[in-house]
Amino acid sequence: MPVLLEVKEKNIIAYISGEVDHHTAKGIRSEIDSEIERLSPEKVILDFSAVTFMDSSGIGLVMGRYKIMQSLSGTVQIQNPPDHIKKVMRLAGLDRIANIINIKAGS
């Protein structure tokens, strides 16, 4: 499973794992989107801690969810991206549309 979904209060947390590229992004986004459609959450948290590779397809993935959440007056948060993935995110300026936070597992 490339994405594991958890619902906490009115938020969806999507634990993405493995490689995010053009090939895998489609499946990940359709899983997240059907959950957004079902719950109309206030916030979608995209957790990248188990992502081993990401190219600009991951940027499209975040921006697409950002647009959907904007239309629901909600927000997107990016959680625990590894350094090399943060580098791609910074290049795209994702930090301007979504909070990027780091939290330790288990806290």
Binding site: D21, F53, S57, I59, G60, H84
Partner: protein, 148 residues
């Protein structure tokens, strides 16, 4: 510049081969003993170039992609990604950050920007109706220099 090693691979433009291309390049570049950051920069750039060929060159059909990896003297990695697809009519425009012809597919329009910033040099050659070649080069720092 002297070519120390050269590997050529052809594969069909199926999206499953995006990860194959990254693995092939990682395997070849390993001979230069790159650090983790350099390797992920190269993998990301190659992924962008190959994805461009898959998404744009063959207009939903499957065509051929040629990948050439050369290891050059002075620890320089040369990677060429070549397709025989539709070509790019306006390369400067295609290279503008955020420009994309496939927004419905959630393409961010950042492929060339990623290639440019993650590699030392990017060269794009394209002819409408003939295809596109992307050449990426990067010098691998010796471990000593990288640790300093």
């Amino acid at each position: 510049m002297k070519i120390l090693n050269e590997i050529k691979i052809s594969f069909p433009s199926r999206s499953a081969n995006e990860s194959f291309a990254r693995i092939a390049v990682s395997g070849a570049v390993a001979q230069f003993d790159p650090c983790v950051d350099e390797l992920s920069d190269i993998k990301t750039a190659v992924s962008e170039a190959v994805t461009n060929s898959i998404v744009h060159a063959y207009n939903m059909e499957v065509g051929k992609i040629d990948l050439t990896i050369r290891l050059l003297e002075g620890k320089i990695v040369y990677i060429k990604i070549k397709d025989y697809g539709c070509g790019i009519p306006d390369i400067n425009r295609a290279m503008e950050p955020l420009f994309t012809t496939a927004p419905q597919d959630e393409r961010a329009g950042l492929g060339f920007a990623v290639m440019e910033s993650f590699m030392d040099k990017l060269t794009v050659r394209s002819k409408v109706g003939k295809g596109t070649s992307v050449i990426l080069t990067k010098k691998i720092k010796s471990r000593k220099a990288a640790d300093e």
